[in-house]
């Protein structure tokens, strides 16, 4: 069951991610990116990272991609403004290199290796990856990064408003 779900989610992630590369129209790219994030949330559930899966759907698919779609519609590029897709030999070489590299990593990774530790231990711990477990680490041990995050968001808001205000 778990293996079947993994292959469904993994194929979904890769196919939807490939659409982002191949589609020329950015709105199709954005929508397939949303699909990719949903499949990724499924993969996080399989890794028993329940809170991260919810975050992925809420923040990425819900908020970040809304921003992307808004900007794409704001610019509303016509066909000629999109720029034509150039198929050059250099791009072909680059794509081939990427495929070879990923294939090599896959071939290396799938060679049976004796892992020192039992790999399925975490699945049996009650509450692993749940809201309370992650919150415990977040609010007890990483207080400073948490507060710095708010500063990061503040800087992002202020700079984005300064850059974008009064444009278009």
């Amino acid at each position: 069951m778990e293996a079947v779900l993994f292959y469904i989610f993994a194929i979904g992630v890769v196919v939807a991610g490939a659409q982002v590369v191949l589609r020329r129209n950015p709105i199709y790219g954005a929508v397939s990116l949303v699909a990719c994030f949903f499949f990724l949330a499924g993969i996080y559930v399989l890794l028993s990272a329940h809170l991260i899966a919810i975050l992925q759907v809420m923040v990425y698919a819900g908020a970040v991609m809304v921003l992307f779609v808004f900007v794409i519609m704001l610019l509303n590029l016509k066909e000629e403004e999109l720029g034509e897709m150039h198929v050059t030999t250099m791009k072909g070489i680059g794509l081939a290199a990427v495929l070879v590299l990923v294939g090599f990593i896959a071939w290396k990774a799938l060679t049976p290796v004796q892992f020192a530790r039992d790999m399925a231990v975490n699945e049996q711990i009650h509450g692993f990856g749940g809201v309370k477990a992650v919150g415990n680490v977040l609010y007890r041990s990483s207080v400073l990064p948490f507060e710095v995050t708010s500063l990061l968001l503040l800087v992002a808001v202020v700079s984005a408003v300064v850059i974008a205000k009064g444009k278009i």
Partner: protein, 155 residues
């Protein structure tokens, strides 16, 4: 988690003895941590079946008599005006931006709210409270800035 000094079968962190996976009658290990997601699976299946079924039956059963008037763009009964591909205002971007910030804030508040009672039990109640309050105050500075800058004015 108890750490042992001599690595045994499970390395330094031996497999806990309490929460074993339960096996059902066929001997297949149940993915117990996935069972809460069963309703979501049912919902997805129902939604998919509905989409496919409605589209399928509409195309197969429904009559198709296409005329020019039916194909024309319809806008509240009056003739369409203006370019349908007009550019939108940048105000939409600013609203989406603020939405992202407060979405992230709510995402942080949710585990904090679930945990506050536990933290209070450990004597960390006020610490956790002021931790979150300073987080929200920092984001509120951003809101005040955007407000004073006039980015929320919809004119």
């Amino acid at each position: 988690m108890r750490r042992v000094d001599t690595p045994g079968t499970g390395g330094y962190f031996p497999r806990p003895q309490t929460a074993r996976l339960k096996a059902n009658d066929e001997g297949i290990a149940m993915d117990s941590y996935l069972t809460p997601y069963l309703p979501i699976l049912v919902l997805l299946l129902l939604a998919g079946v509905m989409c496919v079924a409605i589209t399928f039956f509409a195309t197969v059963l429904g009559p198709r008599r296409i005329t020019n008037i039916k194909e024309a763009a319809f806008e509240c009964g009056s003739p369409t005006t203006g370019d349908p591909h007009a550019r939108h205002s940048v105000k939409f971007f600013l609203v989406a931006l603020l939405f992202i910030v407060f979405d992230v804030e709510s995402v942080f508040i949710y585990p904090w709210g679930a945990l506050l009672r536990d933290l209070n039990g450990d004597g960390l109640g006020w610490f956790a409270y002021f931790e979150m309050m300073s987080f929200m105050a920092t984001l509120a500075i951003g809101l005040v800035y955007v407000w004073r800058k006039g980015a929320l004015e919809w004119t």
